[in-house]
């Protein structure tokens, strides 16, 4: 079943599912950041997919020419793919004011690539009631803009259906992560990343079916994965499973992660209770979600990381930060300190988006694992 996810990832963005959806005159909208509420796009009967960059680290001539070399390679990689027509099937792009890289990516996408529909949400950096009020108004505006563009009404009923579907994905992914808590996890970190990548590239209906199948297969499998140490990967956006594999090939188990393509994407469900209107519930969830480093105070993020470290019995953390990813780079000294206080060492690695884990990275991981081994004695 894992092959199904790999196939999606290997053919993305022009996967058979997306092309089939377009073939039926379906609309596809790309989103740039996890603060964009996908459920609204889904409730408008369109397919939301996450815009990501090249699967492997690659030359970014166009991306660098347009976004300059000092923007993160994730933004440059995404833009390059857009400029080269790899996302030419999109009907719209939705961004958020989340970080400098994301907002400039949106700006240049709009200007140089152009789509029938563009929308950017102001995303407050706080969790105060006032911040929630503002973000809610932004979510309402986004919905109204989409309704106007499509000439439809996105009803509460449709929103509730989408929320339930997306929550099911989140619950299934949570079940998958439970398998990583075992002494001998039933799935590797690299394999998990294949599933995660597919989660924002496939129609959720299909993804849930496939993930259910995978979970069933895994639950019938024998634990085989062993490692010298249990690691968590944190930091910038990461979509290349080979990077995780390069760590695991050194004898480590990557048992959890704190990435906007992993736990920060799926952790928190939209809480639908009887009284809360669905749009309000969506808004609450997206602003309160497992935070990105952009949010204030940073301890909200740090505490969630510490919680993950406890739950998954993590021995060490690998912080991988894409060069020029300023929010995470700024958080690193304080995060390292918080982890250290809990006796958890951190290995900080500067990477470029798409890296598979070079020889140098492997050497540093090896040394880190050796250090953890000594510490465990």
């Amino acid at each position: 079943m894992l092959e199904r996810f790999c196939e999606v990832n290997n053919t993305f963005p022009k996967t058979s599912e997306i092309l089939e959806h377009k073939g039926k005159s379906g609309l596809v909208f790309g989103w740039l950041c996890t603060y964009v509420p996908e459920e609204i796009i889904h409730a408008a009967s369109a397919l939301p997919i996450r815009i990501t960059g090249h699967r492997q680290e690659t030359e970014l001539e166009d991306g660098s020419a347009y976004l300059y070399v000092n923007n993160c390679s994730f933004s440059r990689s995404c833009l390059q793919m857009g400029l080269r027509g790899e996302y030419d099937f999109l009907d719209g792009v939705v961004g958020g004011s989340t970080c400098d890289g994301a907002r400039r990516l949106f700006d240049l996408w709009r200007y140089y690539i152009g789509m029938p529909f563009h929308h950017v949400l102001t995303v407050p950096r706080k969790y105060t009631p006032e911040a929630h009020t503002l973000y809610y108004s932004q979510v309402v505006q986004f919905k109204e803009h989409l309704e106007e563009f499509l000439g439809i009404q996105i009803t509460d009923g449709k929103l509730r259906q989408s929320i339930e579907l997306y929550n099911e994905s989140r619950a299934l992914l949570k079940n998958l992560y439970e398998l990583r808590k075992l002494d001998n996890p039933l799935i590797t970190g690299a394999e998990t990343m294949e599933v995660l990548d597919a989660s924002f590239r496939m129609p959720k209906e299909l993804f849930n079916l496939c993930l259910n199948d995978l979970l069933r297969d895994l639950s019938n499998s024998t634990p085989t994965h062993q490692g010298k140490a249990r690691l968590m990967v944190t930091g910038s956006v990461l979509t290349n499973p080979d990077f995780i594999k390069s760590i695991e090939d050194q004898g480590a188990l990557v048992v959890t992660d704190e990435l906007c393509t992993s736990t920060r994407y799926w952790s928190d469900p939209v809480v639908l209770d009887g009284d809360t209107p669905p749009l309000q519930a969506i808004s609450q969830r997206y602003l309160n979600n497992f935070p990105c480093a952009r949010m204030f105070p940073s301890d909200e993020r740090f505490n969630r990381i510490l919680e993950l470290a406890r739950d998954f019995r993590v021995d060490g953390v690998i912080s991988q930060i894409i060069r020029y990813c300023v929010p995470y780079a700024h958080d690193l000294p304080l995060l390292t300190q918080r982890l250290q206080a809990q006796g958890i060492p951190t290995l900080a690695i500067d990477v470029e988006y798409g890296t598979s884990g070079s020889g140098q990275i492997q050497t540093r991981v090896q040394a880190f694992l050796e250090m953890l081994k000594v510490k465990q004695r």
Binding site: Y68, G101, L108, P124, R125, S137, V326, P327
Partner: protein, 422 residues
Amino acid sequence: MINAEEKKDKIDSLVRACGVLLRMNKARPDGRKSERMYYEMLANYYTRLQSARDEGKFIAAHTVFFPTEILYAMDIVPMHTETTTWMISLFTGECADLLSAGADLGLAPEICTPHRGLAGAFAIGALPRPDVMLWSNLICDNTAKSGELLMEVNHCPGFFLDHPFQHSEDEKKYLVGELDSMIRFLEEQSGHKMDWDRLAEIVGLIDRQIELFREICELRKAVPSPFHTQGFLELLTIDYLFPGQPEAINYLETLRAELAEKVSSGQGAVSNERFRLMSFFIPPMYLMGFLERISQEYGAVSVTEPFFTYWGEGRLDPSRPLESVAEKSYMIPEMRMYGPLDDRALKSIVSCAEQYKVDGAIYYADVGCRHSCATVKLFKDTLNKIDVPMLTLDCDVVDPTITSEEEMREKLEQFFELLEDR
């Protein structure tokens, strides 16, 4: 635990350096009166900080584009962290030490030098320890993310002012609420009450200040242009350090009168104006002298800076002081770079190029500034459509190891030749 070193800060050096600059200005027969006033203001700013430090007065350290007017209205001594760090770096030559101290805190080289430097400056005690740290997300991730580490380094409380991204009514309301919360925080921390009458008065002066900025910009449209090529940095500093202060009004009125006189007598900032330039971002501080010299040598003058001196439209209403402080933040020229980079921002470039009869543009592409550098191609393409060439100079605003004077000269000379040939 991250700790700031307990040692003598560098504010005394800044006071002395401002004094030297003042004396040099007075010694020059052609020294501008407004320039003298400018250095006096800087000297007073740092003398006030010096006294506050010595007398234990309440000091608020803040990042760029912060509404300092709030602090003035509460009788709190402000310390503009980026400007003060730049000045320490420039006047004491300790840039490498500050950056190295920033690196020792764990800040990566990709974090811009102003923010690595200022964190380092606090860590080694080059900046006085503040009573509170104030910061906002204007105008980039570096400012947004700087404060928490600085709170920890200085063992002081802090307030993060969350500035919304766009300009809707909901967002303005949110910003007013943020300002209000910050005032309550400051009242609690400092024991100083907000003087609302004083804030209203300051808002009235800021309104006047913005009018004067606009009038000065109008005068710079003259051919030849009357203001020297790096003059816009004075205007920036006035807004950074002295919003709504009477001495700022005096300075701007004096400068306006000087420029008006030059315009009426047909006198330009350079003896033979050949190239009228548009500037983007901040030139390297350590090359200011060189940039003035080459400006004179080639008759090249920066006449407009759309994102630094070209203020947005609108007036402030002193009877609604807090709303006006919020509104002012949207009128700051740099704000066109903050929200979505829409057609309005690009039209302002074209409009400035036409109104100021620009021959070419220079983009000082600071290697650490991501949000600005991402606009280099966009601005270049925008200007190319109206046949205005743009030179991109890779540099760093404070770190002299990134670009040398020779390199800068070579590129500028080639660009001036290109302009000459057109």
